[in-house]
């Protein structure tokens, strides 16, 4: 923590020596040129399409396009649902992340099963996720039927369904980000808190949560942008009705068929929002990028 260990010969230097330059390889810090070239190609693959989008956008008509009701409706709907979905993910994901972190002590099979369950929405094609949600919460699904019979509530085709679809696909993002932060937090701070009289809940509230707050923030941002961009599960499960379930991605897909300029304007909007949100994320909040 605070104690300077610079005077200790050898101890502080150990790790660096192990990681250091091996004979015959590139000088530490410079990339071997084949690596740099391929990395450049990879970067181009990611950046060029977006650059093309920006270049070919109908800049002259942009204000008119963005003022259209269909566009504004989609924008407001997407923002609202993504925000609500992120809030839900926070409430659900932090405890789940705590469970995942604790599961490190479990036996292999339950631990892997838990991890797999949380990872599935990440690897599943979103449309498949939408179909699965429909099977469960649709009118003929077990829970859907229950809801309809007991409360007269149907889920598909409502804005709530949009939120549910978004939560389904983005919960893993937040959960893993928080889990990463939890794992790298020093367990001994929790032990220290216990010796000072903190109960388990107090430890969570006063020590664990504040220490993982940056990780939680990063996870929330990832969750938000993922929810904003969700398409397949939404259109399959929630449908597509302007102002109710037609989010920005769905609106741009439809616009592509009839009015490509509107589609490009919508795409630009989504791109701008994502870039702004991600730029606001300080890179020390992302555990993978930690300095």
């Amino acid at each position: 923590m605070a104690a300077p260990v610079s005077d200790r010969p050898g101890i502080g230097r150990g790790p660096r020596r192990a990681r250091g330059a091996q004979r015959g390889s590139s000088v530490a810090g410079r990339l071997a040129w084949p690596v740099a070239v391929v990395a450049g190609i990879a970067l181009a693959i990611l950046v060029l399409p977006l650059a093309a989008l920006v270049v070919r956008a109908p800049w002259g008509d942009l204000t008119e396009l963005l003022a259209r009701e269909s566009v504004l409706q989609a924008l407001v709907l997407s923002f609202t649902t993504a925000t609500v979905a992120t809030a839900c993910c926070l409430v659900l994901g932090v405890p789940l992340a705590a469970l995942l972190a604790r599961a490190a002590d479990w036996p292999t099979l339950p631990r892997r099963a838990l991890r797999a369950a949380v990872t599935v929405p990440l690897v599943l094609p979103p449309v498949v996720g939408g179909i699965a949600l429909l099977m469960l919460l649709g009118r003929r699904g077990p829970i859907g039927q229950l809801l309809e019979e007991s409360f007269g509530v149907t889920v598909p085709f409502t804005t709530g369904a949009v939120v549910i679809a978004q939560v389904f696909v983005s919960l893993p993002f937040l959960t893993f980000a928080v889990e990463g932060a939890l794992r790298s937090a020093d367990r001994r701070t929790e032990l220290a808190a216990a010796t000072l009289g903190a109960s388990r809940w107090q430890v969570f509230r006063h020590v664990t949560l504040p220490l993982v707050a940056p990780g939680v923030a990063a996870g929330a941002v990832l969750c938000f942008t993922r929810a904003l961009g969700e398409f397949g599960a939404t259109i399959t499960f929630a449908g597509s009705l302007p102002g109710v379930t037609r989010t920005l991605p769905i609106a741009s897909y439809l616009a592509m068929q009839s009015d490509p300029d509107e589609a490009i304007a919508l795409a630009l909007l989504l791109l701008a929002v994502s870039v702004i949100v991600l730029l606001g994320l300080r890179d020390r909040w992302l555990p993978e990028v930690r300095a």
Partner: protein
Amino acid sequence: MTGRFAGSAAVAALAALVLAGCASAGAGGTTPSAVPTEADTEPTTLTVFAAASLTEAFDELAEQFEAEHPSVEVTLSYGGSAALAQQVVEGAPVDVFASAAEPPMQTVVDAGLASDPGVFATNTLELVVPAGNPAGVTGLDDLADDGLRIALCDASVPCGAASVKLLEQEGLVAAPDTLESDVKAVLTKVSLGEVDAALVYRTDVIAAGDEVEGIEVPGAASVVNRYPIAALTEAGDPDAAAEFVAFVTGDAGRAVLAEAGFGKP
């Protein structure tokens, strides 16, 4: 990671990229064949884009066509006509385009990619409900019922444009819960029981068989979708494309289309 390992990894990645490039360049069916005659011994792939409502009919027609032309393999891609038209305009390698209405075909013609579309079938709308008609729907008026779950095609696709016309004609304002981007998506929601009623094509009702029930709409006969088909000017094998179009518009095609419920052009 040492420089040595990084170097070989990079070379492997580059090699993979080059191979992938070669593979995709070789597999496309768009390189024009130099042999103009029908007696082609080289297998040709014919790519056909067709409106979603043509799914069952064209599947059948493609099989028959392949049986008669063993050297040709027909690849079918279905979707909303407007979406397909956009893809053609953006450069998709397509040989034949069949649309559920004339505006999407016009888009392709305007882009200079089709020259002489001919209408080969017509279609009208029909009201459809899940098997058993759980909501007790009786007619078009029920589409204005807020309490029912209704699915319609979005106005930007032919099925939707027709629905709008039909509803206007009958003086109804529908209360849809979703506006889908192609008619099969609407049909799926009906067959899954997620909606109580929807407007789809006659042909879709027939194709869905026992999963749904159709209710005829009196005014539907006056709202007709005309289906044009055209061989595209940039087709990989223009002769095979023309032959397919001829097949569809000929006797064999008409028989299959009639059985599917399409009307005569």
